[in-house]
Subunit: 405 residues, 2 copies
């Protein structure tokens, strides 16, 4: 029997293909495989014991509340604490600027739901975060790409993009996924000013901002927005944060900072989507955040990731052919490799799989094509020893392939 | 400055108005107010201690996995256990028939995402669950309503609805929200056969099925579907379940049972929506389900809800004017009151608020209008004493209003 939903599915789902990363991750479950493909935090640094203690406290002191339905906006003390923590200088946030979401991926979906009509244009960096494309493809978004270099999005080309009437600009300013590159302060200021001039909102996705292990913290686009106004926040910046990298991704907790009228619209959309984010996990996160534990804990994560990044960079320096270039991230979880023009990273992946090492071909991160000679490597998940071994295997693939050409 | 997303919002959000229930719930936070408006489980029966013990076990034994990213499909042992528990007779389910979602509300949203194009028709009972309407209004669904009586949807009128080319039939067969009515077995069989004849899927939403405190358990539409086929499940039924009523709504955990190809599509949609449901809470639920605890615990919930239903029915019998009629639910959390023709429950609500008692006017549950003389009352949340007091207050409102006419 032909089930009627097939039809629509066939049309709509062409743009919602199961992502390359997901398919690759299936392969990586074999223990002999060294994977640079995923985006997994190091499980050794998860605060397991502290989550256990916080859970016990929440259940003992507020068990009925923790297990009951809650407000769509989120657990109010957590929202208040986030508003207070993110207020800075002239950027003054209140509880009405904060929505708790089920991981910041949900914020991407909700933004699509309230903003994107089929064919609407979104300005993105090229390359950009694949999960954002996946969320917005479901709403049939179109993308205007602005190339990025070692300093992030090339803002010289931004005005041209803004003239094409986009719905918003999407940017990952810190240790970007997939490149590991950080947007310079100068370019941040240019971006904020130009976006204001053209009345185009900026959606700033910042999952890795707290994972800086080198160099100086740069102001968020949101805080630069905040400098340009008086009173409570009514700018055109939206900021997405998450507990996935500082606490645990398995809790699925993130947040959105936005003008209160935008939060109101996201709340209406979220009601129909999942009523609210789990009260239970929100209250646990609040416990871990309020007493300063997470602020201490992030030092450990930074130390571990820095060591692993160093191991990866050192091994690449030692093993990789000299035609290959790569980024030097100052934080986060990823770096980006550029092979000589004409190389095909997807082709290389097949050879890499035979040597039990895996990565994500860069073209997956380009919504409008390009990046065939690039790849994303994750360094947060495996220990340094294993990273070194994996880079050695990958180097052998590269050398074989370059000789073959 | 005019922010560009306002425009689309104004168009789209007319159909995503903040629900009446939500607005009412804000009022009910005052302690003197007796609320029959919400849909909250009794917090006294939440298994707080068992959740604490299960959490400690999960974190101690599988902490790294519980806090890490997981598969979009859900935690595999939980999916396997659900497949096994719901397999019955000829209905043979495997892990590929199961998707874990962030509360069954998310299943409603995902179904809309993969199935509904603007203007698509959905067959629903009149009245029906407001949250489903809220989820599907965002996809600009249209509704074909089939009236319900004390035996559930009037299947005599179903064929006429099926002839209008709907995408699916949505039904809550057990102790329906809002009416508390249960679809008879005879009508279930008619529904399954007619839906098959016209090739229209049935979406069966069953949050309350385990909360039967009177009468005999009836087979699910899914299991009746299953009887009509051989081998692994490939029918046109979709079943939505939840842990919100048997464990705790604050965990936000539900599941979808469907043919594997439909699950595959829902998984692709869910990837972009929130990556996956929290590993942490899924593993806790698995602990509570696998050792039989929840099967024991539900006896307590049934006992408490039965007592409260009895208290409400007795008070209504004693206090309500005789022109007023109501349903006698055999389980679940709600009952439905019908006032004489020409009564306006929304008008009555204003008077009820003055007497510190609150309910949901029935018209909110009719997508195409109607039900002005009806109201939904919840009996699961408050203790019997308070229910009795609230019904007394409501009776005074009714008597005053009826005299005034």
């Amino acid at each position: 029997m032909e089930v009627q939903w097939e039809k629509k599915f066939a049309q709509r789902m062409q743009k919602m293909k199961s992502s390359t990363i997901r398919e690759l991750l299936k392969v990586t479950e074999q223990p002999e495989m060294i994977s640079f493909a995923g985006g997994l935090p190091a499980p050794e640094v998860f605060p397991i014991e502290h989550v256990d203690i916080a859970t016990h406290k929440v259940l003992t002191e507020h068990g009925e509340q923790a297990l009951q339905y809650g407000a769509t906006e989120g657990y109010r003390p957590l929202r208040e604490l986030l508003a207070q923590r993110l207020s800075h200088g002239k950027l003054q946030l209140t509880v009405d600027n904060v929505l708790i979401v089920s991981g910041s991926q949900q914020a991407l979906d909700l933004l699509g739901k309230i903003i994107i009509d089929p064919g609407d244009r979104i300005v993105v960096e090229a390359p950009t975060y694949m999960g954002a494309l996946q969320a917005w493809n479901a709403y049939e978004a179109a993308y205007i790409t602005v190339a990025a270099d070692e300093q992030g999005m090339q803002t010289d080309y931004l005005e041209e993009a803004l003239l094409q009437n986009p719905k918003y600009v999407y940017v990952l300013p810190n240790f970007q996924n997939p490149t590991g590159v950080t947007l310079t302060e100068e370019r941040r200021r240019v971006m904020v000013q130009q976006a204001r001039r053209y009345g185009v909102p900026i959606v700033e996705d910042d999952p890795y901002g707290e994972l800086r292990f080198e160099g100086e913290h740069l102001p968020s686009l949101l805080s630069l927005e905040g400098e340009l106004q008086q009173g409570s926040y009514q700018g055109n910046g939206i900021y997405l944060g998450t507990f996935s990298k500082t606490m645990a991704p398995g809790m699925r907790l993130g947040w959105v900072i936005a003008p209160s009228q935008v939060i109101g619209k996201l709340v209406q959309a979220k009601q129909g989507v999942d009523l609210h984010t789990a009260t239970f996990t929100q209250m646990i996160a609040y416990e871990l955040l309020k007493d300063g534990f997470l602020d201490e804990h992030v030092h450990l994560i930074r130390r571990v990731y820095q060591e692993r990044r160093d191991a990866m960079l050192a091994a690449m320096e030692e093993y990789f052919p000299e035609e290959v270039k790569w980024t030097h991230p100052e934080g986060g979880m990823f770096l980006w490799v550029t092979l000589p023009e004409g190389s095909d990273a997807t082709e290389l992946l097949k050879q890499a799989l035979e040597r039990n090492v895996v990565f994500v071909p860069g073209e997956s991160f380009y919504p409008n094509g390009g990046g065939q000679n690039t790849m994303r490597l994750n360094y947060s998940h495996d220990e340094s020893e294993r990273i070194r071994e994996g880079i050695g295997r990958l180097a052998r693939v590269l050398r074989t392939s370059f000789v073959a050409r």
